[in-house]
């Protein structure tokens, strides 16, 4: 892959930060099983403990509140599938790893911007005396729309419910604070903030229950069995520390959006009526299928996506845009552009130029003429 390629799909995965890479290589060479009591094992244990402090600091948690997992998906499954709450309420725009983790989960609707409808949530909570587990994400993976988590937590706690927040797309980009948000569980993923894939964490507020989903060696204080991915965890720690100040890409994102709207008549950016995270733009190019756009952009040396990476192989409508009431014909033309820690102005300029070229080509093609007719 040439270095000249512009990568703007950080919500799928971010490249590894150099500092995290260095830390991981060192640990990969050192080896050791953290459960072993000999020196090699104790050194691996110290590596895991140091990373635990770094990850805890990222979200204002205590090190003991950090449970390392194999990623965000496992963290979401761990809290939802393992919850003893008999009622689970999730928002309509959650990631599949939340939506599908619990059969029979109730759905809290969202408004046209994709923001969870708080009065609907309140009614759902009041509908039964059974204490629920509520799961609402921090920032949406497709649109970047931020949810009113503190409000959700306040409503839920008022009726004795527990609150989980999937902060996979938020942590390291915006300030995510366990206690500031007032949630009980937080899911994190390393590879969305410049760590490695294959590692994540579930933050479990002290005193809040958690049922492990797998049995075994008693690692992670009996909350998650299996030999720790020591190198991945070390890289996660370093990446978390590097990402602690958040992402500074809002000016680039704004410049990008202004330019795209100037280029394409009828283009629409989704979720602009609500607060959004600084790195994500979900935009439609009228009449041009998302697949066509991403292929054309790839040929022009720019990587973006047509939706969530995990499901982008399947041809299906975005459940997020559908929940927001976007007509299917328009949803099919939406692409996701997501910026990250190594995004520069030149990347944005390249995307804008490629998008403009595509739009001009299409406008002069049959599709464009048909639309004009």
């Amino acid at each position: 892959m040439s270095a000249a390629f512009t990568y703007l799909d950080h919500n799928a995965t971010s490249p590894l930060r150099p500092a995290a890479f260095d830390a991981m290589v060192e640990v990969l060479k050192a080896g050791g099983n953290p459960s072993s009591v000999h020196r090699t094992g104790r050194r691996a244990r110290a590596t895991v403990d140091a990373a635990r402090r770094q990850v805890a600091a990222l979200v204002g948690a205590l090190p003991t509140e950090v449970v390392f997992t194999s990623g965000g998906t496992e963290a979401n499954n761990l809290v939802l599938a393992g919850s003893r709450s008999r009622r689970v309420i999730v928002s309509a725009v959650e990631h599949d790893s939340v939506r599908l983790a619990r059969v029979g989960a109730e759905i809290a609707p969202v408004d046209g911007n994709g923001v969870v409808d708080l009065s609907a949530l309140e009614r759902l909570l009041a509908a039964s005396a059974e204490p629920a587990l509520v799961s609402v994400m921090f920032a949406n993976n497709e649109t970047g729309v931020l949810q009113p988590i503190a409000e959700v937590a306040r409503l839920a706690h008022a009726v004795g419910a527990l609150v989980h927040c999937d902060a996979v797309q938020g942590a390291g980009r915006a300030r995510v604070d366990l206690h500031g948000l007032g949630v009980d569980y937080l899911s994190l993923s390393a590879h969305k903030l410049g760590g490695s894939s294959g590692v994540g964490a579930l933050i479990v507020r002290g005193g809040v229950p958690l049922s492990p989903d797998r049995r075994g060696g008693g690692q992670e204080a009996n909350r998650r069995a299996g030999t720790e991915n020591v190198a991945g965890i070390a890289g996660f720690g370093v990446a978390a520390e590097a990402a602690n100040g958040g992402l500074d890409v809002v000016a680039l994102r704004d410049q990008l959006e202004t330019s795209l709207m100037e280029i394409a008549r009828g283009a629409r950016i989704f979720g602009t009526g609500a607060p959004r995270i600084c790195n994500t733009t979900c935009v439609s190019m009228p009449g041009v299928k998302a697949e066509t756009q991403v292929m054309a952009l790839d040929l022009a040396g720019v990587g973006v996506s047509a939706g969530a990476a995990c499901s982008s192989g399947k041809v299906q409508h975005s459940s997020v845009l559908t929940a927001m009431g976007v007509p299917p014909a328009e949803a099919e033309t939406a692409i996701r552009i997501s910026l990250g820690w190594n995004t520069r102005a030149a990347d944005i300029e390249r995307l804008i130029a490629a998008w403009r070229d595509l739009y001009i080509r299409v406008a002069h093609s049959d599709i464009g003429r048909a639309r004009a007719a």
């Binding site: 099983n33 000999h38 993923s189 797998r214 075994g216 720790e228 190198a231 982008s312």
Partner: protein, 412 residues
């Protein structure tokens, strides 16, 4: 075996705990490097070349893992490790078929994650038979045959024990399971890459593999799931639908690639490496026997992987010995349970008396173990065992021919 310079620095202890974890083979690290750096894409991304490139890496690795065990690549699912594979295999099968069959057969010497999963299923209403093992650590095939009924959905028996290294008769177990219509799952975390495994010849339906036990990275493993006849599972982790729905979550490309490369190296070097390790192990045992009386090998010595010894040093407390041998990284049993001071349940299952179980060490040899390290380890062990025995009244009494069991201890 390719000549590889000793990877241990001289100020580091001699690593003899290859059943707890293995060092990463430098060739594996090299294969992983591009995927940590410029090939960083998400293999689930279909819309740009970063994604395709990552997917290519993952699929090549899947083929490499499949080849190691004689499987088809479509039958290999990547997981976060053998603990997850074991949980998924046992729980997944049990839950899927629970309306038809609700009985599971396993052995008392399985890894803790298998035993704990079975206990958890018992609480859910499944019946579980925990077969004993013989004195040599091997399962009695007639007992197995008698235990498997028409209600048995799964037989889960490890390929190689993590503490004593004994190899179970997999092909015979597979034949019994097939004949009785039960699925055969084997935890091959300690076996893959060390002994020849063939899922067809051995009639294995599910197999768990770990990356970091075969010189690959931690945080990755695999589960083999047979397609013909098809084995079905309830997934434990759902979401994006990766791994054909069996296991959701972004595939960690560098780790998958590392596991694949590790499997590939094992495939090509296993035979030569086994010969070399057998020589080293024999050398170690011979050396220890020459210097120390009353040491006993636990578990069958012939039907055993080459890289394992489990030895009881009579009248020496294992923990004190471990404190003494500071230059050796060995363990007194399974790493997962090594922080606890209870005697090994595996040794107890072999009928090893509690006093002897307390004096045992697990010594694991592997790809980077050198002859020189073996000799140093023998010297260090002999020195400390002799020293501890010299201070032990029990040793003195036993040397004088007093049967320690006959002693009535005064109350205090």
């Amino acid at each position: 075996m390719t000549a590889i310079a000793q990877i241990r620095r001289n100020d580091q202890p001699i690593y003899l705990d290859y059943q707890a974890t293995t060092p990463l083979d430098p060739r594996v690290l090299e294969a992983m490097m591009p995927y940590f750096t410029y090939k960083f894409g998400n293999p689930g991304s279909r819309s740009h070349s970063y994604g395709w490139e990552a997917e290519e890496g993952v699929e090549k690795a899947r083929g490499q893992v499949a080849k190691l065990i004689g499987a088809d690549e479509k039958e290999v699912i990547f997981t976060s490790g053998a603990t997850e594979s074991n949980n998924l295999a046992i729980k997944g099968v049990a839950e899927f078929y629970k309306d038809r069959r609700n009985h599971i057969v396993t052995t008392v010497t399985e890894h803790k994650c298998v035993l704990d999963t079975c206990r958890h299923l018992e609480q859910q209403g499944f019946d579980v038979t925990y077969l004993p093992v013989q004195k040599n650590g091997l399962v009695d095939l007639e007992q197995l045959r008698a235990a498997v009924t028409d209600k048995t959905v799964l037989v889960s028996i490890m390929a190689v024990n993590n503490e004593i290294g004994v190899i179970q008769p997999l092909a015979e177990i597979g034949a019994i399971c097939r004949e009785k219509g039960a699925f055969f799952h084997t935890d091959a975390a300690q076996a893959a890459g060390k002994i020849a495994l063939d899922v067809e010849a051995m009639k294995i339906d599910l197999m768990s593999i770990s990356g970091h036990k075969i010189y690959g990275p931690k945080g990755i493993g695999a589960l083999y799931v047979r397609r013909r006849p098809r084995v079905r599972l309830v997934a434990m982790i759902v979401g994006g639908g990766q791994e054909r729905g069996f296991r959701s979550g972004t595939l960690p490309t560098p780790l998958c690639v590392g596991l694949g490369e590790a499997a590939e190296i094992c495939s090509s070097e296993m035979v030569a490496e086994a010969e070399r390790l057998t020589r080293l192990r024999d050398r170690m045992l011979k050396g220890l026997n020459a210097k120390l009386p009353e040491i006993y090998v636990n578990g069958d010595l012939d039907r055993r992987i080459p890289g394992n010894l489990n030895i009881s040093f009579a009248h020496v407390e294992g923990e004190s010995l471990m404190m003494g041998i500071k230059n050796l990284s060995v363990s007194s049993g399974s790493a997962c349970t090594s922080a606890s001071l209870e005697p090994s349940y595996v040794l107890r299952a072999l009928g090893v008396e509690e006093e002897m179980a307390h004096t045992s060490l697990r010594i694991g040899l592997g790809r980077f173990t050198t002859e020189h390290e073996v000799d140093s380890a023998v010297d260090e062990l002999a020195h400390h065992v002799t020293k501890l025995r010299a201070m032990s009244p029990l040793w003195e009494m036993s040397q004088e021919g007093i049967d320690i069991k006959s002693i009535e201890w005064a109350a205090h």
